[in-house]
């Protein structure tokens, strides 16, 4: 058998904005053309058309996980729909070889009047499982979903969370050759989410080709070997998870960037040692660069922003001026910045930039770095308060 893979070769996809037909005359001629499968202009844009995906190419081989990120309407789901053969590319060629497992809309086939048990068989069949396979895995599926006591209740009486949990459990018990995941990581309550994510990670790491779309950037960062950042159907960045996520996060609440002042330049920014730190401990950043002239008062030469990848939001901002650090005079500089990671576990991103404080614009920025905070479950909460117990009297 051929090696399972996902292939996108110069794929374009056109969509139409607004109503499909403007008049009865349009409708008849247009529909007649569509019925025989000869859209007049799969190649050019008609009025009201737009490209949902523009010239996208990739190949996902076993052992790799491709993440696709980007704002809403950037063509992520359209891409997945073309892979699962729901949509047909307007141009180009796409292919998915092997048995496809999709974690998309995991309870789409449910019928409210049927019981959970009946729906497991129905949804399983829709996802392509054989009857015998569902019978064999039925107990595992119900166990995983954690709703064993309601399995004989009609699904219409389920809460939306139970619905999604059952749907996910069915999908998670497919044994696919390739896996396609669209935004199903936020299913159910927190403990179920952890279980679900563990399952996805097991599947992804079992060596099959995986493609996933998610807004949970920390998950993307954890699972994906490669990431493509899409915006309005076009590839903005492709590269490692770090590069693409950094480009995405800093684009969506971007500080305006002024090109070419050349006043401050960053040559290298890196961590001293591994980019992993235990919660509450220190991590050091080494920043090298040079300035070309004496800095005026309105220039903040080193501004540091720390973001949580889970939310994309800023958790910490500081700068050399804020801390009263005396920046060395023009020329080369090598600065060490120490941060105490009083953070919960997760992935974080550090952006280093120079800013002109008067118009509030970045005049230089360095490659963003990511680091991971680990913890042996010594606390839960939003920040690490370095708690400690001491016996004062016995």
């Amino acid at each position: 058998m051929k090696e399972p893979r996902l292939l996108f070769d110069r794929v374009w996809k056109k969509f139409h904005r607004g109503q499909l037909h403007d008049s009865l005359r349009d409708l008849i001629t247009e529909s007649a053309r569509k019925m025989v499968g000869r859209g007049s202009s799969d190649r050019e844009l008609d009025e009201g058309d737009f490209w949902a995906v523009k010239d996208l190419s990739f190949e996902v081989l076993p052992g790799t996980t491709l993440g696709i990120i980007g704002p809403n309407g950037s063509g992520k789901s359209t891409t997945l729909k073309m892979l699962t053969k729901i949509l047909q590319p307007s141009r180009g060629y796409c292919e998915a070889t092997g048995r496809i497992g999709t974690l998309i809309e995991v309870s789409a086939g449910f019928h409210g009047d049927l019981t959970g048990r009946e729906n497991v068989f129905l949804q399983g069949a829709i996802m392509g499982m054989r009857h015998a396979e569902i019978v064999r895995k039925f107990d595992q599926i119900v166990d995983f979903s954690g709703i064993a006591e309601s399995i004989d209740t009609p699904v219409k009486r389920y809460s939306s969370g139970m619905n999604a949990r059952l749907g996910f459990s069915i999908a998670a018990h497919l044994e696919p050759d390739i896996l396609i995941i669209d935004e199903v990581l936020a299913v159910g309550d927190m403990s179920f989410q952890e279980r679900a994510f563990g399952r996805i990670r097991d599947l992804a790491w079992s060596g099959i080709p995986v493609i996933m779309v998610s807004h949970q950037l920390d998950r993307i960062n954890e699972l994906c070997t490669d990431v493509i950042l899409l915006d309005r159907g076009e590839v903005v960045t492709r590269g490692t998870a770090q590069e693409a996520i950094a480009a995405y996060v800093s684009s969506h609440d971007a500080q305006r960037m002024v090109e070419g002042t050349g006043l401050v330049n960053f040559d290298s920014v890196r961590f001293d040692g591994e980019p992993t730190v235990a919660s509450g401990h220190r991590i050091a950043l080494r920043i090298e660069g040079h300035t070309t002239a004496e800095l005026t008062d309105n220039i903040e030469p080193i501004l540091v922003r720390v973001r949580s990848l889970r939310t994309g939001g800023l958790v910490f901002v500081t700068g050399s001026k804020w801390l009263g650090y005396e920046f060395p005079s023009p020329g080369k500089f090598t600065v060490c910045l120490e941060l105490q990671a009083n953070l919960p576990t997760g992935s974080y991103m550090v952006e280093v930039a120079a800013e002109d404080l008067i118009p509030h614009e970045d005049i230089a920025s360095a490659t963003s770095l990511m680091f991971k905070v680990t913890d042996e479950r010594t606390f839960a909460g939003l920040i690490q308060l370095n708690a400690g117990f001491h016996t004062l009297s016995a």
Binding site: K34, E59, L61, T64, I86, D113, T225
Partner: protein, 316 residues
């Protein structure tokens, strides 16, 4: 609370199976676009459907289950439409019998009863298949499977439904004075033709309904008035020599009349038969005519369906 801020065991490393296997631009040129031939398409349809046996079974089961869930009379509903047809037919025939002064024979009732269930089956098939794709929008736009299974399973569910009616009619026929003959062997042939014809119509209409929602209303109009141009309550012979020939152009008519003639009148359908009024009524080529409709229709509708299938999600 404990899980809220923790990611699962950080530190586990991803096993590297294919070192160096990175996401890259495809190296292969796309295969040249070839339009599949009709034969390839048909083979693909058969292959798809065979691959989806379990799905068809589950969807059929779903359709049967939800039809009678929370319905007090349950499966008795499968009999309501055929019974209504027979009763309405009785009323019409009674009026005709009174007007012409000929009286109502028991054989006439049996002749109606045997046509009522197949007609109800046909109506049921059209009614359930036409919206079968549009009512599953969430499935069609989100999960891929051969879309043929939706109308197909609707027809299978209807088949199970009508089998119940069929059994009851068979029992009733005994009470209505019908007797057995070797010519009942025509029944499975005629029913098979009806089944294929229903599938052909079902595929075509469900597909058309995605493109034009008018189809749904058009179908309602046709089914409401179809009973007047199909020999269900009345026999085709009652429309006279010219009228009956026109009526038999309706592909369902020869099937229904064939059932009546073979079971009630013990007629071999390979022979011609004169109507009671004396004109030539049954022509053997009607069978070929219906077969052409059924099989030709199935091939055409399956092809149209298959070729427009991949546009469903966009146009639904």
């Amino acid at each position: 609370m404990e899980q809220i801020l923790t990611t699962p065991e950080a530190g586990i490393e991803r096993p590297k199976r294919h070192s160096g296997a990175t996401v890259r631009n495809p190296q292969t040129a796309p295969p040249p676009e070839v339009r599949p031939t009709i034969l390839q398409d048909l083979r693909e349809i058969v292959f798809d459907i065979r691959n989806c046996r379990d799905l068809i079974y589950q969807l059929t089961l779903r359709d049967i289950r939800i039809r009678y869930k929370q319905a007090v009379f349950g499966f008795a509903w499968a009999l309501i439409l055929p019974m209504a047809v027979v009763l309405a037919g009785l009323a019409v025939r009674y009026a005709i019998a009174f007007y012409s002064g000929r009286g109502l024979a028991q054989g006439q009732i049996a002749g109606m009863a045997i046509k009522a269930v197949p007609w109800a089956f046909f109506v049921g098939c059209i009614n359930t298949t036409t919206p079968s794709l549009t009512s599953s929008i969430s499935l069609v736009t989100k999960i891929y499977f051969p879309r043929e299974v939706l109308p197909l399973s609707a027809i299978l569910a209807q088949t199970i439904d009508s089998l119940i009616g069929g059994v009851i009619v068979t029992i009733a026929l005994g009470f209505l004075g019908a007797t057995m003959s070797a010519y009942v062997l025509w029944v499975p042939v005629l029913l098979a033709l009806l089944w294929i014809l229903s599938l052909a119509f079902g595929l075509m209409l469900s597909c058309a309904n995605i493109f034009f929602r008018d189809v749904k209303y058009l179908v309602q109009v046709f089914l409401t008035f179809g009973i007047f141009v199909t020999p269900v309550m009345l026999d085709a012979t009652m429309y006279g020599p010219v009228g009956s020939r026109i009526m038999m152009l309706n592909p369902v008519a020869p099937i229904l009349e064939g059932l009546r003639l073979s079971v009630i009148r013990h007629h071999n359908l390979l022979h011609e038969l004169n109507a009671p009024a004396g004109f030539l009524f049954w022509r053997p080529w009607y069978l070929a005519y219906v077969a052409a409709w059924a099989i030709g229709g199935l091939v055409v509708s399956a092809l149209v369906f298959h070729r427009s299938e991949r546009r469903f999600a966009e146009l639904v």
